[in-house]
């Protein structure tokens, strides 16, 4: 530092606090300091071409985030003191939060771990600083989400042990394995998976539905968290785009590698998001928009423009994207039907839509709902009214890659389940789709190790031999309290008491 000005200009400060932190090593080779930079085959010729997307220095970052925290915690306090839990649209809504806390918040923590790791492994200081800031963002997100939802934990069931559940409960292996897959990849694949495919291409489909859902349903705590995270998310999206353009511009040999990763991570992200789809269409008492509409706005329109822009690098839209155009009319119904029938093993409640809600679904899904799903849901509702609420007492076949039960239908034929299998080194593996089977075939050694919850139960690695003891003892889901049907559940009864209604007797839980 040669000049003696007391206060640095923004540009100088930025330079000193990012690029200037780097130095040319003199007694170690760069390859030894950054040993993970080359094994994936990505060629970086000039790290100086990296455009820092954040334009933010650490001191400004702390200051800015601290101000946001202050506001957030003031509102969370006010929410708690005013019994905000009683002002939500309906207690059914809280089940969306249970899904978020066990399914999404731990992924924020996984993202923190992932960015902290890859931020160590890039030769360029700009990329390292960007990853460091995103790592801290992600850690902040998991903390603020936990704090925003902790108030609900005092008044509703199923929110009591989210980290334990994330590691064990069958459906949570879907988000968990998604991040395990990304984090066990090399640093460039991790960024393509999380920064680009997830944060840039798909994040609006996760964030907007949950945060708008919170707003439409009177959940000020979660809305405020959403606002507090919004500017971070915008930065993460910018990083995602910078990462992909930087890699593509560095060397033409990078193009096919990146295309393969985009194909893989788009498909994995699309599968993961069916959880959001069912949340939007079935779990929000006040609906925001349908899943199909969200997909059209946030993927087809925004994603369409993005991939047009990437065409000049030789990148095409992700493989099987056309299957999603059809699937957007089906996946939310298929996912909700799955959770409804396996509600004995979830930490949240499920229910059948009312007649009015079914009419909304047929209006939003004119080509699919009445034809393929209405009879199923009407039958279940009638069974429930007869005291024979349907639970599926078997265990489902899981996809070896996305780990979702094989619930999706064949492209072009919604009356048939989509199923693929493949024999690798004498072992047979099963998949929900061509997309998942392709991912397996590209890296079979990675997925032969998959910890599939159903198979683990059958191997005796999850405690008891029966589902009930696995759910109670291994998952720490309290039977008859956290799980099963919403109607007549303790959550429902408590809500009715708050609202001055006579609590509904619990349903007989046998199928």
């Amino acid at each position: 530092m040669t000049d003696n000005k007391k206060k640095l200009g923004l540009k100088d400060k930025y330079r000193y606090l990012t690029r200037d932190l780097d130095w040319e090593p003199s007694y170690q080779k760069k390859e030894d300091i950054f040993p993970h930079e080359r094994f994936e085959g990505i060629k970086i010729t000039d790290w100086d071409k990296w455009e820092d997307p954040f334009r933010l220095t650490m001191d400004a970052y702390w200051k800015y985030q601290a101000e946001k925290e202050k506001k957030l915690y003031a509102i969370l306090d006010a929410f708690a003191q005013n019994n905000g839990q009683q002002s939500i649209s309906d207690a059914r809504y809280v089940n969306a939060l249970k899904l978020f806390l066990t399914g999404i918040s731990p992924c924020e923590y996984q993202a923190f771990q992932g960015f902290a790791r890859v931020g160590r492994h890039f030769g360029g200081a700009g990329a390292r600083v960007a990853c460091q800031m995103q790592a801290i963002d992600e850690l902040r997100h998991v903390q603020t989400q936990v704090h925003a939802m902790s108030h609900y934990n005092k008044h509703f069931n199923g929110l009591h042990d989210f980290t334990h559940m994330h590691d064990r409960v069958w459906f949570l292996s879907v988000p968990k394995s998604f991040f395990d897959d990304a984090r066990s990849a090399g640093p460039f694949e991790f960024l393509t998976a999380i920064s680009f495919s997830f944060e840039y291409v798909l994040t609006n489909l996760l964030f907007v539905p949950f945060m708008s859902g919170a707003a439409y349903n009177g959940d000020m705590a979660t809305v405020t968290f959403g606002f507090s995270a919004q500017s971070d998310e915008a930065r993460h999206m910018t990083l995602g785009l910078e990462v992909i353009k930087f890699m593509l511009e560095q060397h033409e040999d990078n193009v096919p590698i990146i295309q393969g990763w985009i194909d893989k991570w788009f498909w994995r992200g699309n599968r993961l998001l069916c959880l959001v789809g069912m949340m939007m269409d079935y779990m929000l008492p006040n609906k925001v928009m349908s899943w199909a509409e969200a997909w059209e706005v946030y993927f087809e329109q925004a994603g369409g423009a993005l991939f047009k822009d990437l065409e000049r690098y030789g990148i095409r839209p992700p493989k099987y994207v056309e299957q999603c155009m059809e699937a957007k009319q089906h996946v939310s119904h298929q996912a909700w039907a799955t959770f409804y029938q396996y509600s004995q093993a979830t930490n949240f409640h499920t229910w059948m839509p009312s007649e009015e809600e079914m009419d909304w679904l047929s209006a939003k899904y004119p080509n699919t709902f009445d034809q393929y799903y209405r009879a199923r849901f009407t039958f279940w509702r009638e069974q429930q009214e007869k005291g024979q609420r349907f639970y599926n007492n078997t265990l489902p076949q899981l996809c070896q890659v996305c780990q979702i039960p094989a619930i999706f239908t064949e492209p072009g034929d919604p009356t048939k389940l989509s199923h693929r299998s493949h024999v690798h080194e004498g072992e047979r593996y099963h998949f929900c789709s061509d997309g998942c089977r392709d991912i397996f075939k590209n890296q079979p050694e990675k997925y032969v190790q998959a910890w599939l919850p159903v198979h683990q139960i059958y191997q005796g690695n999850c405690g008891g031999a029966d589902v009930e003891s696995v759910v109670r003892d291994y998952y720490n889901i309290e039977l008859g309290v956290d799980n099963f049907e919403y109607l007549g559940s303790p959550d429902h009864q408590r809500w009715q008491l708050w609202k001055g209604e006579k609590p509904l007797a619990p349903l007989k839980q046998a199928s």
Binding site: F39, R376, Q397, P444, V454
Partner: protein, 119 residues
């Protein structure tokens, strides 16, 4: 293709038959009955006969469906790993050629699910 890794990358498959204590995984799907959201994953003894599989495992699994009362599983059209298959009902699963992690599909003609919706 294989995994690009920083070292040797080989792992034993997690679901080898040896890990299931003498039993085997068997998957079964019922065509046009999507009320059951996915194919079933059963744990079965290879010595069990195909008839026992139907009575003790498959029938209880599908009992909640109204079509199950009318389904004659002995007359069903069967597929094993997507190839046509004619089970010998009195022979064991082993003798029927069912291996660990095989997939059966059954089609019961004339039964098309709840109100014909394939549910």
């Amino acid at each position: 293709m294989t995994v690009n890794a920083i070292g040797e990358y080989r792992f034993a498959p997690r679901d080898l038959e040896a890990n299931f204590h003498g039993q085997r995984l068997l998957y079964l799907g019922w065509d046009r009955h999507l009320m059951f959201c996915s194919p079933f994953a059963f744990l079965v003894k290879p010595q069990m006969t195909f008839a026992e599989l139907l009575e003790q495992v498959v029938m209880p699994a599908i009992a909640a469906h109204p079509d199950s009362a009318r389904a004659d599983l002995r007359q069903a059209t069967w597929y094993l790993n997507d190839a046509p298959f004619s089970p010998d009902f009195d022979a064991s699963l082993e003798a029927n050629g069912l291996r660990h992690k095989d997939m059966l599909r059954m089609d019961t003609p004339g039964l098309n699910g709840l109100e014909g919706s394939c549910s």
